[in-house]
Amino acid sequence: MEFIELKDVYKVYKNGVTALASINLKIKKKDFVFIIGNTASGKSTLIKLLYREEKPTKGSVSVGGINVAKLRNSRIYKLRRKIGIVFQDYKLLPKLTVYENVAYPLESYGLSGAEIRPKVLAALEQVGLSHKTRSFPSELSGGEQQRVCIARAIANSPKLLLCDEPTGNLDPKTSKEIMDVIEKINKELGTTVVMATHDKDIVNRMKKRVIVIKDGLLDGDYLKGSYKVDESV
């Protein structure tokens, strides 16, 4: 079975909006995949299905052998410990320092301080923030906060990194730096990356597999490098 597999997936929200329809999709381990499409096309919904923030209305979603659609609420945490998630709005805790923000998921898993420390330091090193461990999120730039979010996501060495518009709030130069970090993680750690984005420059430049969603339907699946800017939606 593929690392990620969606079979005939539909998502209809309670208010009647059909966000996704008849989606079939396979993603291999260590792949780097962009999900693009207009606003409200269903990109975030697709990502949310992968970490079980939403359940498919119909069809099956499997991630790393876990049948995500059937996962009970009380067991979701098991899935999420294997997945790193990067958000557009970072979702850092303002009262904790950079180090603590990266460490506390591991603390909540019950790891000891001695186990946690090397993981946190390695993750911060990966994102280039080793010198800011004691800063608070409010003392960081947007790009730096996003690096903390990425460090937190990879600290437990997940097999999958999900990103929902990680550069949505950043200027082009900072966006490029963040993308470099994520690409490095994909290459060096072999982490599978699935990223929803609006940013066509990034998609064009990086030459990865591109999945296009249009009004909730799969509108195109371009293998590594075959996606061209003029085909964009």
Partner: protein, 301 residues
Amino acid sequence: MRVFRILGRSFTNAFKSLIRNFSLTMASIICTIITLVLVSIGLLLSYNVKDITENIEKELTIVIFMEKDTKKEDVQKTREDLEKIDNVENIIYRSKEDIKNEFKNDEKWASIVNTLSETDNPFQDSFELVIKDVRDINETVTTIKNMEHIEMVKYGESSVNELVSIFDGIKIGTIVLVGGLVLVTVVLITNTIKITIFSRKREIDIMRLVGTSNTVIRLPYLIEGALIGILGSILPILFTIFGYTMLYEKFTGLTVSNIIGVIKLASPDGIVYNASLFLLLLGTVVGMFASGLAVRKHLTV
């Protein structure tokens, strides 16, 4: 190790938020105190009711007088019928000859009884019954009255019935009151914890996203609820132990009627400690239950 680390962190968080929401915490604790004091009164009352009822049951007898010229075999048959009644614990039979002899041996009566001839006997054969359950006494008496050769059945009917119904009333009243108060307490503690949770909603959401288990998320709140319950049970426990002991020493007894005799409070040994333990447990459980209710909503997608 893992468990202790998580527990330690949860305790710290629980204490912090108790202090941060001081006024609400106090309100919850005071509500718990009031509830538990009333639970305590209810408990002690029902202990005493049980104690008194048992004493009455021990002492209460039904006396049956047979018709004067009942034949011995009929008396024997009556005895067998009496033994068949479920509510009868014990039967003492006193024949009219025995009674006559008793009177003969009694100085006061001897002269009068001795004037009777050998065959002349004004006394009646009688039974004394000890019964199992006072509540069914009326039924038992009716059954007996319907039997043959029975002249009279005597027992302290009115006072017994009154007392039993008063005790039942006390019991039901206590249960209703305590039930209502427990509900109010649950609502109050739930709200206290909801406020804590509200201020940490973002944190809970993020914890869920990064793979913290529901148990670990819930733990500090459960501990917080338990702490409210435990803190709230201290005063009621002191009230129970010292209050009741004092009352017991001051209150020497109350004469209700000559049949039932003197009502005394049950001795505080054991009772107060059992009650205290119960209060502590109830406080803790109610607190944890309330906080469980409060977090539940936030732990589903």
